[in-house]
């Protein structure tokens, strides 16, 4: 019984982890809590849904999965489109506010942008839930006492691949190293010849792409809703804070812990309270160790 909830938690945690990485990246490099990050998740999920819709005629599926090759294409397209959306948002709003040195209002602006983007979804796509596929998935036993659908295994596998890819990107590539340098100390990075503007742009691309994939993964395993990103935002922030804001590996770890905790809580209280569980964990972390598990000092 517990093993099953643990498995569910890992599936939810995979989405949260990828979303939280983007959040923590923007927090560290751009220096503000981006409340619009949840909207990137929702938009990513809807972008992918659009692409799948275009390929509506393609009915064949990959092995036991509920979707076919168009869906893989849709994930890539969604990541690209969400990156563009993030860059446009930055260019239209955040860039201007950054320039005028009124950094604190960035948070308010991002909160406004999040509501705006969420309601644009309602206007464009309608308020009703959507699904990538009508195929019904049957949960198969994979371990004693644990049943998962093939889609859920795909989601966890994709998350693992992306996390490894992100790790290689940050440690092996010039751009990745530059990103870590800017996040550690922007002024120092600038005097050593790193193009900070370029790093900012790539931060949005990486964060936006991961958000889109997280949104698609959530949409695949649960459903696609205009509110999904906003509802997940609390999980993302809890994960980022638990892992230590600014720490990428912390965000991944935090995402898994929050996902598992939320799903284990179902043993004791109604599933409706999952976001509240994330919130209470966040408050506890802030009380005991505000720097999180892997983070630096926050005071």
């Amino acid at each position: 019984m517990i093993a099953q909830y643990l498995a569910n938690g890992i599936v939810l945690g995979s989405s949260i982890a990828l979303g939280a990485v983007g959040l923590t990246l923007t927090y560290n490099i751009l220096n503000f809590a981006n409340f619009a990050h949840g909207s990137l998740l929702s938009w990513g999920a809807y972008f992918a849904w659009l692409v799948v819709l275009v390929f509506g005629g393609v009915q064949s599926t990959i092995g036991p999965l509920s979707f076919g090759w168009p869906f893989i294409l849709a994930i890539v397209a969604a990541a690209l489109m969400a990156s563009v959306l993030a860059l446009v948002l930055d260019w239209l709003v955040f860039r201007v506010l950054r320039k005028s040195n009124i950094q604190v209002t960035l948070v308010i602006a991002s909160f406004g942008a999040s509501l705006l983007l969420r309601n644009l979804i309602v206007v464009v796509f309608g308020p009703e839930p959507q699904y990538y596929s009508d195929n019904i998935q049957i949960a198969q036993p994979i371990l004693p006492g644990v049943r998962t659908t093939p889609d859920e295994l795909f989601v966890v596998g994709l998350a693992v691949v992306l996390v490894i890819g992100l790790h290689l990107f940050l440690t092996r590539t010039r751009l990745g190293k530059a990103m870590r340098a800017v996040s550690d100390n922007a002024s120092l990075a600038q005097v050593s010849g790193i193009n900070v503007h370029n790093v900012v742009r790539w931060t949005w691309v990486v964060g936006g792409s991961l958000a889109a994939v997280a949104g698609v993964m959530f949409g695949l395993t649960v459903q696609i809703l205009p509110d999904m990103g906003f509802n997940l935002l609390l999980f993302l922030f809890s994960a980022a804070i638990l892992g230590g804001i600014g720490s990428i590996y912390g965000a991944i770890l935090g995402g898994l812990v929050i996902g598992i905790a939320a799903d284990l809580s179902v043993l004791f209280i109604s599933p409706a309270y999952k976001p509240a569980v994330a919130f209470i964990l966040m408050i506890v972390v802030l009380l005991i160790k505000p720097s999180g598990i892997l983070g630096e000092k926050v005071q």
């Binding site: 005028s100 009124i102 509501l115």
Partner: protein, 321 residues
């Protein structure tokens, strides 16, 4: 004619309720620089506390305490203050965005409790028959609403007057000193945390008071009345009116509330019935655009003080390093 009058009375009562909230937010944000993105949560705590304590017995959820109006009002304010303490104590020592994150969490959590804790809040059905003070003495609805308006305007003026007194008192000057330069303020022995916490709690109590009055005025509350968009409206009111200025907060409330209700009627008139469900979304997009444009082109709002917190951020954002 009476139609217009009764509509204006209704409009003014709600504008006053919003004004109380934006005054509370102004104390927190305008004077202290605290991000509260969970305004709706504190508003809901006030509304629900009042509704539970003041209502007659009802099937399905706790109630029947029949508390008198004033007692329930004060209890609602105390309950909101306690919730503010719970959120404020862990977060107000940290970098300012932590409070924003925690307040959005409390807003969501209270919404969850309202929706799911049926024995306490009536769940999705909400709480009915919330009493209105002295309603037995009035025969017409309009007459009563005029009385309610007078009462709420008196409360609003009282709140305005008290806030003006405290922000211009030594206490208020410490608040602004901390907002502008916390290191300097703490070097003369003023604890930033303690003052921030006081300001946060007082501001939240005003939001709770607004919630209690709202519950009493509309007589019926349910979770759908407490959506995150309300927080957004109050922020738009404060930013448009001008943060750091109490008169600006009230002016902004009236203006944005007028814009909101007008856009609502326009949407209703223009949109075909098939698109009506999306009407609310259009309204939010409109208010969002107004807020963004004000932030970008006139960050001080209509009446904002020159020293409003929007310009104080530069010195503080590095404190996270």
């Amino acid at each position: 004619m009476t139609g217009i009058v009764s509509y204006l009375v209704f409009f003014s009562i709600l504008a006053s309720i919003y004004s109380l909230m934006s005054l509370g937010l102004n104390l927190q944000w305008g004077y202290t620089g605290l991000f509260n993105i969970g305004v709706v949560g504190f508003f809901a705590v006030g509304a629900y506390t009042f509704a539970i304590l003041a209502s007659p017995p009802a099937a399905g959820h706790i109630g029947g305490f029949n508390w008198p109006f004033l007692a329930a009002l004060i209890a609602a304010m105390i309950a909101t203050g306690i919730v503010a303490l719970i959120v404020g104590i862990p977060t107000l020592r940290l970098r300012e965005d932590y409070l924003a994150i925690a307040t959005i969490g409390i807003g969501a959590t209270i919404q969850l409790i309202a929706n799911n804790m049926n024995w306490l809040t009536g769940g999705p059905n909400g709480i009915y028959n919330i009493p209105q003070p002295l309603s037995a003495y009035f025969s017409s609805n309009l007459g009563y609403n005029v009385f309610f308006l007078v009462m709420i305007v008196v409360i609003l003026l009282l709140a305005y007057w008290s806030l003006e007194r405290i922000v211009h008192s030594p206490w208020g000057r410490v608040l602004m000193a901390i907002r502008e330069d916390e290191t300097a303020a703490s070097s003369v022995g003023k604890s930033g945390f303690s003052y921030r916490l006081q300001s946060f709690v007082i501001g939240s109590i005003l939001m709770g008071l607004a919630g209690a009055l709202y519950a009493s005025f509309i007589k019926y509350i349910s979770p759908t009345l407490f959506m995150p968009v309300l927080t957004f409206q109050v922020w738009a009111m404060l930013i448009v009116g001008g943060s750091g200025n109490n008169r600006g907060a009230i002016l902004g409330s009236v203006l944005v509330w007028a814009l909101w209700t007008m856009s609502g009627s326009v949407v209703q008139a223009i949109l075909p019935s098939t698109l009506q469900v999306k009407g609310g979304a259009f309204q939010i997009i409109l208010i969002g655009l107004v807020l963004m444009l004000v932030l970008l082109f006139r960050p001080r709002g209509i009446m904002g003080s020159r020293k409003a917190v929007v310009f104080a951020g530069e010195s503080k954002t590095v404190s996270g390093e």
